[in-house]
Symmetry: C2
Subunit: 123 residues, 2 copies
DNA sequence: CTGGATCCGTGCCGATACTG
DNA sequence: CAGTATCGGCACGGATCCAG
């Protein structure tokens, strides 16, 4: 066996099935983090949420809420009656998820000037 | 002035221009984190990177590298000659960015069973 | 009030072929 | 080796209308 340098192949396989990838996607999703952040302040109804986020269409609100509920990040509680009422709230898992998300947001704020400088330089 | 409960309007405006949003998008981007992670191991050439990530097309590799360079997360160094050689490497900013990204990935791993349970329950 | 259904523009992304 | 150019499928996401 020679002692010559050996090139170790470093290949990334199947990264779409990595459990971390799906939550990175979640964090990068257009509306998820905004909705989760609003719900951090308390329980909201559907139209309350709709009015709380500028630019958010009802269609995407519905889809994002269903998706967040599917991941167990929020809870959905139906109160029958007239008018009907549905409450959305953070779960413990959702509240926990916001911690690393906020860490990433704080990183962005802390390095905002570096990023702006790089973007200007490479413009 | 009455002391009745006042509903404080909580509206999220202009979240597309939030500096944190762009980096959350970056983290959720399909290839950026994978490429940054590979570059954490050292300097790579273009085709080396291409071969290191399964499923990554040269087209998206080029686009992602340009984008990462634009944000100052990686550096691009051209070595003229035959054959030509271009080295890609993490910058300090890029290495720093991987910390909160990894924190989010670790969160996903730590809560993998919770997420899987929720997804099964809501199936 | 809380959605679902449909239409449709736009951009992401892979496949393929070509260049210096 | 290190890209560029072009085509095309498909999913994201907004607008609008309909329903319980």
């Amino acid at each position: 066996m020679s002692t010559a340098a050996i090139t170790v192949p470093v290949t990334v396989n199947d990264h779409e099935n990595c459990p971390a990838t799906s939550m990175l996607r979640r964090a990068g999703d257009k509306w998820s983090v905004v909705i989760l952040s609003v719900l951090e302040r308390g329980t909201y109804g559907f139209n309350e949420l709709d009015r709380s986020v500028e630019g958010l269409s009802r269609r995407m609100l519905t889809r994002t809420l269903r998706s967040l509920e599917g991941d167990g990040l929020i809870s959905r509680t139906v109160h029958p009656g007239v008018p009907p009422r549905v409450d959305y709230a953070l779960t413990e898992l959702g509240r926990s998820f916001l911690e690393p998300v906020r860490a990433l947001g704080l990183w962005a704020l802390a390095h905002q000037s570096d990023l702006e400088a790089a973007r200007t330089r490479n413009r």
